[in-house]
């Protein structure tokens, strides 16, 4: 069916009908182009929204201490609660929920940090290695703190990208020493955080080091947890709530707080706030898929219309070919061969242009809600394949009908 002779015939027809080839090509190519750009923007939208809403892990549970409001077991009310390493260890040990990531936190809100002549006031946070995942921080240079750093109470610092730009400009900070509260810390990593500049002005150090340097003893300011991801939102919410209730009860009894006291502990359960985000992202996905499928359908309908017009326009030619001895199957084959060839090549061009546009322009797009638009290559290719296949199927019927017109009627066509 796809013999060399046929290819020659097809090439000849295509190259001698430039306008027709061009129009078919443009409509298919631009269809694919639009689809690819659309999928890219959709992806960018998702990235943007996720960035807007998800500075931290979406299922993080944070526990902060407060002051008691009810006198209890010989303690006066208005007692300030203080967490220690012991409390953190207790939660980890006693909970019957499986924990994904956990870290205590001890921070100084305005720590003076300097390097050479540059200096700034940054939040310095003592943390454990898991904190990277609670904060969704990404290492762009060097590494994050590991458990050995914590054990050895290393004076290591991981600095946010904003802090890095302030203090080091374009220079790599890895291995350099910065001054934190009068002590030298070695910079071992730089991170970015989807929370943006606000969270990238932080400096992370091992919690053990922070507690010594800032004279905190075993005090911690808060603790954060995430539970393993669940299949659906409702189950995740249920598990989170159960976990929150359990640690509240556990800590209240250890710290001698009245179970009814509502101001001694604050538990923020992020997942409660993320339902809207889950829904928004879902709705957006559905919307863009809807638009994408509609575009694809429009493309397929466009291809079949073009095929219909082409066959109609070529009725007389088909009659001539049949009078000269072309079998119906060879007419169908010829038309399909041509259309598949033209749609593939122009579709490929549309695909390449679309991907190139996203690749070149994408990184420069820094709108609040669109970030790094890009497209999954395999999705793009399968759309192309689908379009070609659909075009072939859609083209088959006009071709078949064209081939079946009685030769004498086809010849009479003007």
């Amino acid at each position: 069916m796809f013999s060399l002779e046929r290819w020659q015939e097809v090439f000849e027809t295509i190259s001698k009908n430039k306008l027709r080839t061009f129009l078919t090509g443009v409509s298919v190519g631009s269809g694919i182009f639009i689809l690819v750009v659309l999928l890219g923007v959709s992806e960018g939208f998702q990235n943007g929204v996720e960035k807007q809403f998800q500075g931290d892990a979406e299922n993080i549970i944070n526990i902060y201490p407060g002051s008691t409001s009810i006198a209890y077991e010989g303690f006066n009310k208005d007692r300030r609660i203080q967490f220690t390493n012991e409390d953190y260890a207790l939660v980890n040990k006693e909970t019957d929920q499986e924990i994904e990531f956990a870290s205590p936190l001890y921070q100084i809100f305005a720590g003076l940090v300097s390097y050479g002549n540059e200096s700034g006031s940054y939040r310095v946070e003592g943390i454990l290695p898991d904190y990277q995942f609670l904060e969704k921080a990404d290492i762009i240079e060097g590494r994050f703190i590991n458990i050995n750093d914590v054990k050895a109470k290393e004076k290591y610092a991981i600095i946010g990208n904003r802090a890095k730009k302030d203090l080091f400009k374009d220079k790599s900070p890895i291995g350099e020493y910065i001054d934190v509260a009068g002590l030298n810390f070695k910079v071992i990593g730089v991170f970015t955080d989807p929370g943006g500049d606000r969270e990238e002005t932080r400096v992370y150090v091992p919690i053990s080091t922070a507690q010594i340097v800032f004279g905190a003893g075993t005090d911690i300011r808060s603790m954060g947890y995430t539970l393993p991801k669940e299949e659906n939102y409702d189950l995740a919410l249920k598990q989170s709530n159960a976990f929150a209730a359990q640690i509240e009860q556990m800590l209240k009894s250890k710290l001698q707080i009245d179970p009814k006291d509502e101001s001694a502990l604050f538990i923020s359960n992020n997942i409660v706030n993320t339902k809207e985000i889950y829904l928004l992202i879902n709705a957006m996905k559905i919307f863009f898929w809807g638009v994408g499928i509609a575009t694809l359908l429009a493309g397929i309908i466009g291809v079949s219309n073009i095929m219909l017009i082409i066959v109609k326009e070529r009725t007389k030619e088909i009659g001539i070919r049949k009078a000269l001895g072309a079998e119906p199957i060879s007419i169908v084959g010829m038309i399909l061969h041509e259309s598949i060839f033209v749609t593939s090549v122009s579709g490929l061009f549309g695909l390449i242009f679309g991907l190139a546009l996203l690749e070149i322009v994408g990184p420069y797009i820094e709108l609040d809600f669109i970030r790094n638009p890009s497209v999954n290559f395999s999705i793009a290719v399968s759309t192309l394949v689908l379009l070609i296949a659909a075009g072939a199927i859609a083209g088959f019927f006009p071709a078949w009908r064209g081939a079946r017109i009685k030769t004498i009627d086809a010849l009479r066509d003007e």
């Binding site: 015939e9 049949k322 009078a323 001895g325 072309a326 079998e327």
Partner: protein, 233 residues
């Protein structure tokens, strides 16, 4: 070469049926040059289309070179047309985006002949009709007479048993018509069977036999002394 017995053909248009051929009987021997004449609407083209397997008769039998032509499917009809028949039309029916030589080569493409051989053969036929120098020209760069010559070369290319021509001079002035008829006569001189439909008396006189149709039946069928076209040019 051609044997036709009691051929009937009607066209159905809605409820009405138009009986066009009402029992045609005639034979054509190999090497004949026959003119089918008759007034407009007498059924000349209808008969030729049936002979060319472009259309089917309702009734009667048709044998071409000993092969009964009956209940052909499209595929077989296409093969027979390619092998047995060459068509020449009043409106030339060249494919306008193909050059003269590519038009001539088309029946050979459908015979499955390789490109190089196809081109060689087509060129030979273009030479035969005197258009070797015009091989790469598109139909719209050719005069009517030249177009008809290309069509004749194309009809001859597959070396058919019978040439069928419907009003092949209908679109040409009389000088050009005679030149085309001269070519047809030469082709016939080589022994090829040719049937032409015409309503022009002078053209019919250049054949060897005139079959007269009226209201769907043959009213006259006579051998004549051929007038050579060259005498009139």
């Amino acid at each position: 070469m051609i044997e036709i017995k009691d051929l009937h053909k009607s066209y159905k248009m809605g409820k009405n049926s138009l009986h066009v051929l009402k029992g045609i009987n005639f034979n054509v021997e190999e090497g004949e040059l026959v003119a089918i004449m008759g007034s407009s609407g007498s059924g000349k083209s209808t008969l030729l289309n049936i002979l060319g397997m472009l259309d089917e008769a309702d009734q009667g039998s048709y044998t071409l070179d000993g092969v009964p032509i009956k209940n052909l499917n499209e595929k077989l009809a296409a093969q027979y047309r390619n092998k047995f028949l060459g068509f020449i039309f009043q409106s030339f029916n060249l494919i306008n985006y193909k050059s003269a030589i590519d038009n001539v080569a088309l029946p050979l493409f459908y015979q499955g002949m390789k490109r190089a051989k196809r081109m060689e053969r087509s060129m030979a036929y273009l030479e035969k009709v005197g258009l070797a120098d015009w091989a790469t020209h598109k139909p719209n760069e050719l005069s009517g007479g030249q177009k008809q010559r290309v069509a004749i070369a194309r009809a001859l290319a597959s070396n058919p048993k019978v040439l069928l021509a419907d009003e092949l001079t209908g679109a040409l002035d009389s000088k050009t018509s005679y030149e085309i008829m001269d070519l047809i006569q030469k082709i016939n001189d080589e022994g090829r069977t040719v049937l032409i439909v015409t309503h022009e008396k002078d053209i019919a006189q250049m054949t060897k036999r005139i079959v007269n149709l009226k209201d769907g039946v043959i009213i006259e069928d006579k051998k004549i002394t051929q007038v050579r076209a060259m005498q009139n040019v």
